[in-house]
Subunit: 146 residues, 2 copies
Amino acid sequence: MRLTTMTDYALRLLMYVGQHPDRLCTIAEVAHAHQVSVAHLMKVTHQLGLAGWIETVRGKGGGMRLAHAPEAIGLGAVVRSVEPDFRLVECLDGGGHCRLQGGCRLAGIFSDALQDFLARLDRHTLADILPSGVPGFALPTLQKVS
Amino acid sequence: MRLTTMTDYALRLLMYVGQHPDRLCTIAEVAHAHQVSVAHLMKVTHQLGLAGWIETVRGKGGGMRLAHAPEAIGLGAVVRSVEPDFRLVECLDGGGHCRLQGGCRLAGIFSDALQDFLARLDRHTLADILPSGVPGFALPTLQKVS
């Protein structure tokens, strides 16, 4: 059972940007810090912008910053907005062709389990996972980003 | 967020076999009933056999049956035994290369959320999802299976 790489990167990007509240961050430096591709992060940034979690400033000297305080960015809400689907089993989205559709309780049980999963995430915000308070775990920042 | 097709099919196979406690079931008839490939179900059957959920009888007239009563087959246990991994985010298996590894609480929070998910499944058994009690939802059985 996995979330998509997109959601994984989205959380890391928010953590990086949240660690630098005093300035705009660029995709290039996040890519460097986390050693992931710029192309992936461009998609992630676009998605996070659409969902209202980050604000971007275009042009020279531009970049991104959080659109809300870390305490106001719920992890459950972020995951819901970035993850493409929560189709744990085929029947969960109603579009499957299971011969049992409507006749078994599997979808209901998995739906409940999913709600429990997301409810746990809803108890936490970005502020809870910012590593800035842990000595030695601040992410490296590029001195010069092209 | 998805489980693998393997887990989806494993649950459907157990449901089919559980609906026919009076005889052995074949892969061919489960494949026919659920309109999924025999090759996929062979892998699923092998896995369920290894995990001790089903017993198989080889040879002519052979097939499979549940190794335990449906009430003794926990959904959480089945999912844990069939799903290849629960690496929701890269850091959850400890093998990733996240620069924040050890420095943020993300893995702990997702691990808790996963436990909540599985704990909900642990409250249910195969008996809860057998559709036999719902009129009109018994799966079609082939009259003759080669």
